[in-house]
């Protein structure tokens, strides 16, 4: 039972971590809390449903199209809603982000209805045997993909030219522009990478929980955001640690038979961390200028 609960925590935490990575990247570069990030996952899950259940196409195509749709969606949202507000007060962008999230949720409800849609299975493998233990395949895959995605993301940010540009823009947008970095392309790239991760998250989510509904992104997004803040927003390892922390917190509370207080505990954890260490576990402090 202990081992099963550990795996439960790992899987839940991994999905939170994948989503939290997207939050962290976008925040790191333009200091925007992208409220719509959770809803991008919803879009990805619906695309999978459309491709497999409605068009009857191959699961691999569904995965590719889901990730592509999320990536495109992320960039599009940035170009349409956030780019015109690049120099506006932070409050305005934040409210816009809430508007975008609201738009996606209610749009999906209008188009697809409030009832959940069932995403067909991507694969027939349900469990894998490991030394006499039957492990749920989606759980194991989720954990593995999260590890791979985090490592890949770290390499992209640390080693590639675009990654270097991203770091430069997040350090000082004005100076980066003077150094000849195309700031808008870099920001678009950040949104693309973050949203692609959300797309992968969507596929893993749909594989494990098999349902897509218009408001699925809301709680997932909020919890993942909590994870990002816990870990220190703007930090890649922070997002992963935060995600796992939230996942394990939920599982521990449930295992203690206190499941009614689960959400309260997660949010309380957030409040405590923010009060004690406002920048999160791995976050950097930023000085404020007049």
């Amino acid at each position: 039972m202990f081992f099963t609960q550990v795996l439960n925590g790992l899987q839940l935490g991994s999905i939170y971590a994948l989503v939290a990575l997207g939050y962290t990247m976008v925040y790191g570069i333009i200091l925007l809390l992208n409220f719509a990030h959770g809803d991008i996952i919803m879009v990805g899950a619906y695309v999978s449903w459309l491709v497999m259940a409605q068009l009857g196409l191959h699961p691999v195509l569904a995965i590719i199209l889901s990730v592509a749709a999320c990536t495109l969606m992320g960039v599009l949202i940035d170009k349409v809603a956030y780019a015109p507000l690049r120099n506006a007060p932070r409050l305005s962008i934040l409210i816009t982000a809430i508007g975008v999230s609201y738009f996606l949720e209610n749009g999906a409800q209008l188009v697809f209805g409030a009832d959940a849609k069932v995403v067909p299975a991507y694969t027939d493998i349900q469990t894998i045997q490991l030394g006499g233990l039957a492990l749920s395949f989606p759980s194991v895959l989720t954990v593995l993909v999260t590890i791979v995605a985090t490592v890949a993301l770290t390499i992209v940010v640390q080693k590639t030219k675009l990654g270097k540009a991203m770091r430069a823009v997040s350090e000082d947008m004005g100076a980066a522009r003077l150094m000849g970095i195309n700031v808008n392309t870099t920001i678009s790239f950040t949104f693309a990478v973050g949203s692609a991760l959300a797309g992968i998250g969507a596929v893993l989510y749909a594989m494990a929980y098999t349902q897509a509904n218009p408001t699925m992104g809301m709680m997932l997004g909020t919890k993942a955001f909590v994870a990002a803040v816990l870990g220190g927003i703007g930090s890649i390892p922070g997002a992963v640690v935060g995600g796992l922390l939230v996942g394990f917190a939920e599982v521990i509370v449930t295992a203690l038979n206190l499941s009614v207080w689960k959400d309260a505990v997660v949010f309380l954890l957030l409040i405590i961390v923010l009060v004690v260490r406002p920048t999160g576990i791995f976050g950097r402090t930023m000085n404020e200028k007049v």
């Binding site: 507000l85 962008i93 508007g99 749009g107 809301m218 923010l274 406002p278």
Partner: protein, 385 residues
């Protein structure tokens, strides 16, 4: 990119008007007269509304919608204190509202049992019932402001986005507590998921709009006072405000608590209007709904908040066919307003009756001024030619 403050220039609430006439020629109204005029106007409106309801010109459906308009006006005006005046973005206003709603209705239910006040007394309005309702509203407000203090002191050490998210988290915690508190205390307090029922229908047009008038008056006077200017200074530049000796923590908490108190009063009125409370009602969506009203109306404008609360409450009622698209329209409006007019419909403009009266007294009319300008322009053209 560093933390940016609101860049556009804002007048301190509505102190400015048009350009002032020079010299002693301008006639002004003394303050007591201004207050008296406004009080009379409000009273006349209240009595007129009550007469229309009693006379049957306005039916119960319309008067209930009017009550809800009033409740949303209080909510929007109170959120405006924290958003428009203080420049923060709390996303948990529904949490304060629910604290007030539960506090007020539990107080009224328990006390009316203890004092033997029947449900009918609330409708007919016996003095004891009226006292109970007013007491309940204050209790509701106090419950909400206690929540405001608990959240405010740690939250206000944080800035912008962090504050937004911590208020969101706190509102969620309030919701979970409301759901499960009965098991902890061991007796029926909030009724949990099944909801708190049997709340007497004590909200009436007169009570709701009386509260609206009081809330607007108190907000207005607070913002015109030293405290209000301190709050505006924090919004415009927190570091500079601190450097000039404003106790930022104190004033941020003050604004937050006042905002929560009024939200609690609105919650109490809501409970009396609907008659049943379920924690699920006071979710994130409710907070956003109130935020949309403030943002649309103009952050920092009391008139704007009140107007957009009115429009956004009546519009879906008037256009039932539109209701399917209501949510999506809210979202689009929110985005468009932020892109094209981030300061909202009315910006920080506020309506002032005394200012209009003063203009009339001074014969300072917009059309007169426009005509003057026209003359000047004509002269210039003439000079060029």
């Amino acid at each position: 990119m560093e933390e940016e403050v609101m860049t556009e220039k804002r007048p301190i609430i509505s102190a400015g008007g048009g350009p002032r006439l020079e010299g002693a020629a301008r006639k002004t109204l003394p303050m007591p007269v201004r207050y008296a005029i406004n009080a009379v106007v409000v009273l006349v409106l209240l009595v007129l509304g009550e007469l229309m309801i009693d006379g049957g010109v306005v039916n119960r459906y319309q008067s209930t919608v009017l009550e809800q308009v009033g409740i949303y006006i209080i909510l929007a005006v109170s959120l405006n204190i924290a958003t428009g005046y203080l420049g923060q973005l709390p996303l948990g206003h529904a949490g304060f509202m629910s604290m007030g709603a539960y506090g007020c209705s539990i107080f009224i239910i328990r006390m009316s049992e203890a004092l033997g006040v029947g449900a009918r007394d609330f409708v007919t309005g016996t003095p004891l019932a009226l006292a109970l309702v007013l007491g309940g509203l204050v209790v509701g407000g106090i419950c909400a402001s206690i929540a405001g203090i608990i959240i405010g002191i740690p939250a206000l050490r944080l800035k912008g986005d962090y504050l937004a998210i911590i208020t969101l988290a706190f509102a969620e915690i309030i919701r979970v507590v409301m759901l499960n508190i009965d098991d902890v205390v061991g007796f029926d307090l909030t009724g949990g998921a099944a909801g708190l029922t049997g709340i007497p229908g004590y909200s009436s047009f007169l009570l709701v709009f009386g509260c609206v008038a009081v809330v607007c008056f108190l907000t207005h006077t607070m913002m015109k006072s030293r405290h209000g200017r301190a709050i505006l200074a924090i919004r415009d530049n927190e570091i500079a405000a601190e450097a000039t000796g404003v106790n930022t923590t104190y004033y941020k908490t003050l604004a937050f608590v006042v905002s929560a108190f009024f939200a609690g009063v609105a919650g109490g009125l809501y409970a009396g209007c609907v008659g049943v409370l379920q924690p699920a009602v006071f979710g994130f969506m409710k907070s956003i709904e109130i935020l949309v009203m403030v943002v649309l109306g103009g952050m920092g404008s009391m008139l704007g908040s009140a107007l957009s609360a009115t429009v956004l409450t009546i519009l879906p009622e008037a256009l039932r066919a539109f209701s399917e698209y209501r949510m999506i329209a809210y979202a689009i409006v929110l985005i468009l307003v932020m892109i094209f007019r981030p300061q909202g419909l009315l910006g920080s403009y506020d309506f002032s009756l005394s200012r209009i009266i003063e203009r009339v007294m001074n014969r300072d009319f917009p059309w007169a001024r426009r005509a003057e300008k026209g003359d000047e322009a004509a002269k210039e053209v003439g000079a060029d030619a």
